[in-house]
């Protein structure tokens, strides 16, 4: 199976939790969304986790927001994607919440205008 087919199969299996698309093309509002998308697929390709494990977290994250979100609030699909990826990696002992939080605080503390 080619990579494209694997991608398609996984996204198809994601069902109602599938990413936002326009005319069959994925929509990324910001660059980090594409990074989060690419990371999840690449890690799954590399055998770090099964797609189903990630998908279950994604569906749960979306359902949790649906339950509390106001109808007119913007829908932040890739934030759920990212949360699902973090939870999947934590489940598999690959990246813990503590080390991730520490790295995020480090990055957030960089001076303005830092070229990264």
């Amino acid at each position: 199976m080619s990579t494209e087919e694997r991608l398609q199969q996984r996204l198809a299996a994601t069902g109602d939790a599938a990413p936002p698309m326009e005319n069959g093309e994925l929509l990324f509002a910001e660059p980090w969304e594409a990074r989060a998308f690419g990371m999840a697929h690449r890690l799954c390709d590399a055998g770090c986790f099964e797609w189903d494990a990630f998908r279950d977290h994604l569906i749960a994250a979306i359902a949790a927001e649906d339950a509390r979100r106001a109808d007119d609030a913007p829908y932040r699909y890739y934030e759920h994607w990212l949360v699902a990826l973090e939870r999947t990696l934590a489940d598999h002992g690959l990246a813990g919440d503590a080390e991730l939080g520490a790295r995020a605080r480090q990055l957030a503390a960089r001076p303005h205008g830092h070229d990264h």
Partner: protein, 204 residues
């Protein structure tokens, strides 16, 4: 990443995503170039483009058109388009729209769809309302898509399944005689290959 000012909130998703990537790279689990490659491949290769190539070839090569209508799977393979999700080869059936018959594709049971040709299905394709109504009242559903069909045109609803995937070969619009295959492929869009739209005349 970009060089614009980054947020100073460690909980901001762009910071979380960057932190996650740097951590995974450090652990040797991820190579940023591989992430780039996934994104690029997705942007370039997956989408309705493959189906558009098939349609444009059929419009310009009558022999190919005949082979496509006789055996869609084999004709798609001629253009190096093969397989579907799971890698197994479902049967691809291509049906032609014309002045007398208009085909429209649905999957009444779930969302069977020719992925390899059309990429991912649009959200409405999975919608229970489309799946049930297009069978009962196809003319009204097509009108809601903006496609008003002459009452003389017969509508055939094609129900895809796990075994058979349908794709529509739309009518070539008038005024495109001077266009080559690549230019024609650029006109063909997903909805026309599902049968809920026509390919528009580029001059119109």
């Amino acid at each position: 990443m970009t060089d614009h000012d980054h947020p100073h909130d460690p909980d901001a998703p762009e910071i979380r995503a960057e932190a996650l990537e740097s951590l995974l790279v450090e652990k040797g689990l991820l190579d940023p170039a591989e992430v780039d490659a996934v994104i690029a491949r997705y942007n370039d290769r997956v989408g309705p483009l493959a189906g558009a190539r098939v349609v444009a070839r059929a419009w310009t090569d009558p022999d190919y058109r005949a082979r496509l209508l006789a055996d869609g799977t084999a004709a798609a393979e001629e253009l190096d388009i093969r397989g579907g999700p799971g890698g197994q080869m479902e049967k691809l059936v291509v049906v032609e729209n014309g002045p007398e018959v208009h085909n429209v594709v649905v999957c009444t049971l779930c969302s069977c769809y020719p992925w390899a040709l059309l990429g991912l299905p649009p959200r409405w394709y999975k919608d229970p309302a489309y799946r049930s109504r297009v069978v009962r009242e196809p003319r009204s559903v097509l009108a809601e898509f903006g496609l008003e069909l002459d009452p003389d045109i017969r509508i055939r609803v094609r129900d895809s399944s796990a075994e058979v995937r349908y794709m529509v070969l739309p009518e070539r619009p008038e005024g495109t005689e001077h266009l080559d295959e690549d230019a024609l492929a650029g006109l063909v869009h997903r909805d026309a290959m599902i049968g809920v739209a026509r390919v528009r005349d580029p001059q119109a």
